[in-house]
Amino acid sequence: MRAPDTTVKAAAPVIAFDKITLAFGAKTIISDLSLEIGRGEIVCVIGPSGCGKTTALRVAGGLIPPTKGTVRLLGEPMAGPRRDVAIVFQDYAKALLPWRTAAGNISLALEAAGVAQSERGDRIRDLLTKVGLAGHEDKYPTEMSGGMQQRIQIARCLAQDPAVLLMDEPFGALDAMTRQGLQDEMLAIVAETGATVFFVTHDLEEAVYLGDRVIGLLPHPGRIGIDQRIDLPRPRNQLETRETLEFLRLRRTLFDFIEKAEH
């Protein structure tokens, strides 16, 4: 939807963590984390539980201010949530309004952005088509499968026209087939919109399959342990990509990393 940005800002990282430390009382969750993510990059974040990957995502989304350090978005320091940064939560059932239909849930983001009512209908239909739910606008979340509900949440995030998509284990609660379908749909959508993606997952294969880069965090306190480039060609394919030697090698590297991080 957005034309590639060729202004000066294009050179600047879209998200920049500059020596972020986050502590709750005496407990340090994230320590001195620095990370730059470029425009259109898909960065997957993995790590054992307690490594602060979800917390890092919440800091990037402006939901929690860091104790020390700054997060910059397109060069500007983050001072709270922004509409061009969309967050896809794992628990789609809790993140959707049960009293609104699919269309109503997507509309919430448009209402928040002040889109005129006359324009909302068309935008909602476009977004539903984009996530493969054309014709389901009048269904309520409870009438939809988990995969469909997560698609609604993704559509609501896309309604924000985001420069950055923060995804917190978005497919973790779905069954394997649905998850693979959504992975490919997400890659197609991201390729089309050019959004920058910060994707938290505990599934190493998912990280390799989706990412341009995989960041592995170490726990107690959370810090970067590995920053692995993923040079698998795109478009990727659920069967062929996952069968390549490079895919298996990368998976092994990350597996070894997690093994070591946990001990």
């Binding site: 509409r83 939560f89 309004l97 049960p98 919430l108 924000q160």
Partner: protein, 254 residues
Amino acid sequence: MKRAWWKGLVVPAALIVLAELAMRVQGSTSMSLAAPSDIVAAFFAILFDGSLLLATRDTLVSAGIGLAAGGFIGLALGILFGLVKPLDRLMEVTIEAIRPIPSVAILPIAMLVFGFGYRMEIAIVAFSCLWPVMIMTRSAMAGIEPRLLEVSRALRLSTWDRVHKIVLPAALPRIMVAFRLAASIALVVAVTVEIAANPLGLGYGILVAQQALQPAVMLAYLVWIGIVGYLLNAALSLMQQRLFGRAGRVEAAS
């Protein structure tokens, strides 16, 4: 449900027949009991002379306005305390000190301030409806899915949008339950005030019948109050289902 709808009526019907027989056989001249047939006759007598409908109107008007006023204040305070936590903590002791006062205990004060009549009764009904609505609204707001509030933050909804698009719809099913509870309290309190002091309404009707040694009329009023209470609750249930059917169902499912 359809095949057995009459089964629930077997016991009451048997009891009524038994009561009728007992009263007739004994030839009772009780001042507190009356035969069902006499009660029915008395009921139609007060229905046709207009006194029953007038009393019903007086009671429902007092209970209704009291419920509306108390409910509105309770709702507003509940929302306020739900949204502004420091205020909630500040007011907690004060509220917990006032709340347990039985509503009828403020009757003497209300009589001094308002005298007899609608206003006094409305004030007492409002006082008793305020608390359950306030407390249930406050807890309904505390029970809102935190993820939804986070979504509203992420979308940068304005405070007004957050309240009327997220908070209120999420809390509404439970607020509606609070109103139903308050409605039954309103009727009880209104009738109590009428029996205790206020010369109007159904409660006063019972009192007058009792003092006139007319047990059939007294019991006719009693049965009628039961019917009114039942209809009121049924009407509110229906309204709840119509207005918040979906949200209500979701609440029940979770």
